[in-house]
Symmetry: C2
Subunit: 345 residues, 2 copies
């Protein structure tokens, strides 16, 4: 058991038992479970729930930083649900599933698998028939798209940050890069390592790719790591990027990465992304980060153009894709402003 994926590190989680859960890939995951956290209280009318799925490498705790008294996502007003991802380490994942679906033989995942499990949580467990909103960053954006297209009657409003309806080819090549780096560790052994602590090299190499693409050229040029309390670029790479990924389980990350790579809302319309986006009835906010090397603004323009009630809200920041980590107050304020506008729309 990896000590990272515990309540000690990430706070108290609840679990929905899903039983044998049919995955899009054709496998049935036995005794599947969906982990989640919540903040706030579901009101009597059950109309104040906001769903906030997380990004690659995150957990249900990752987006809690956007909830707070006086913030747009005020827990005195909204009931915020933070679902875990399959592969995220708390929900069913390579690291916590027994044979024959453990480690390197965990079945392939799709964004729709997460959303279908979340739909059961929202409807069957909480008895909610309509969410107030869905929002997410990166892979959280992919899940938001899936919600808005698959369950349009349940999603009156939504916001995506730095994520696309279909994973762009250039972004797939980035995923190939960090995947190759991860699996290159001889100790990886096709995923059949006994102890994740042996995978230090895999996680160190994987972090190099995120150093390359997670922030912008301007971040490094202007030495913005100084503002974050680091004394050199190497210090930041070691103290933030490597340290962030170091405790994680490689198989979990790879399960998420493959799901991310396959993200394509077009599966709702025979591969036609524009037609699938046309099914969205939500008032739908599309935000990008100006220097994002994962998901450039241009790809958000294209997505938004096909959404009937799409509203384009680009955000300027030198932090690139990591703009949503709230490492700078200005970024957090810009994201909060879009969330506030979306919640009130």
């Amino acid at each position: 058991m990896n000590a990272y994926y515990t309540d000690e590190v990430h706070g108290h989680h609840e679990y929905l038992e899903l039983g044998g859960f049919p995955l899009r890939s054709g496998y049935t995951l036995p005794d599947a479970k969906l982990a989640y956290k919540t903040q706030g209280t579901l009101n009597a009318a059950k109309d104040n729930a906001v769903l906030f799925p997380h990004m690659y490498s995150g957990t249900s705790a990752s987006m809690e930083m956007y909830v707070g008294e006086g913030r747009p996502l005020d827990p005195s007003k909204y009931f915020v649900i933070f679902p875990g991802q399959f592969g995220g380490g708390f929900s069913s994942s390579p690291s916590n599933t027994p044979p024959p679906f453990d480690r390197g033989q965990f079945p392939p995942l799709a964004i729709a698998d997460d959303v279908i499990a979340q739909h059961r949580l929202v409807t069957e467990h909480f008895g909610i028939s309509r969410l107030h909103a869905v929002l997410g960053w990166s892979m959280g954006a992919q899940q938001t798209y899936e919600w808005a297209v698959r369950f349009p009657d349940m999603v009156p409003r939504a916001a995506v940050f730095a994520g696309n309806a279909r994973t762009p080819v250039h972004n797939q090549i980035f995923i190939d890069t960090h995947t190759e780096l991860m699996i290159s560790d001889p100790a990886f052994r096709g995923g059949f390592y006994a102890d994740g602590d042996d995978l230090t090299l895999a996680l160190k190499r994987h972090a190099v790719a995120f150093s390359l693409m997670g922030l912008s050229a301007a971040f490094w040029r202007d030495e913005l790591w100084r503002d974050l309390g680091f004394v050199s670029s190497d210090d930041f790479r070691q103290g933030f990027l490597r340290a962030y990924f170091a405790p994680m389980d490689p198989n979990n990350l790879l399960a998420q990465a493959a799901k991310w790579r396959g993200g394509d809302i077009g599966h709702h319309a025979g591969g036609d992304v524009a037609a699938a986006l046309g099914k969205i009835t939500a008032t739908f906010f599309v935000s990008s980060f100006s220097e994002d090397l994962f998901f450039p603004p241009e790809d958000h323009d294209a997505d938004c153009a096909h959404i009937p009630n799409g509203r384009r809200r680009p955000i300027e920041t030198p932090m690139g894709h990591f703009g949503m980590f709230a490492l700078r107050e200005a970024d957090q304020a810009a994201v909060d402003a879009v969330i506030a506008e979306m919640l009130a729309s």
Copy 2:
């Protein structure tokens, strides 16, 4: 002996024997040699020589595409010298140097080593006291900067394309990425492989990083590989990017990569890049490619601002750093235009 680094593949080379060559790293390379090719004829006044060093992974043949009748670099007018790089496979390199400096124990290189060897070729071998011009792309740009600062009286005019006076930190992280991918092949064995043909995995992984960064997000978004005769993005990645690197020697590439990473003209002025650039007396053209993920235009602005006779000539292209491969006629024409202006200045 790697069959790639032969005259059969790259045309006839000449060699200057350098004897024991002292490297900046403190090693003396025994029986060092500098490979080169030329086009055109050195005139009696010896004032028509143009030096055109090559980029990472290239050879003396790589830039020959910029020479031709009716082109700015017309061989009926100019004597064009294409020096090889140390580590390039023809000049002294890990792949062609005997023990104790072979393979994984080849000594560290600096851009200045190449330029000092080239200076001997130009002055001692050809008897040239002043070049007409120096120009280069990427690592060729690094050598051009070294020439212009180290030997200002010999360089009246110069042009750099997509390369900086100091390797930016973000670019160093890119080098770390492809280096990690290369050395991750278990057959690499710290560079002490017997046969480069065993390093297919290393070269395949290394090519992933160049797929990610060599071209632009727009190249993949707009499927510009179609214009190059490929039928899918995977077809291009396999047929162009992997195929290009596949025959090369990993130790050679790594020797060049480390040299590239350490590029810093500031060594001429106690680490002060601006002061070093202030020593340039050449009319110096600084070109960048608009979508370059290796060396963004902004870093060229900063370099040019410190060069007394600097002339900024940004080039618009969706081909990113590979704009200089002349894959599109428009790119070749844009580069030729800068070369023409520089040669006539």
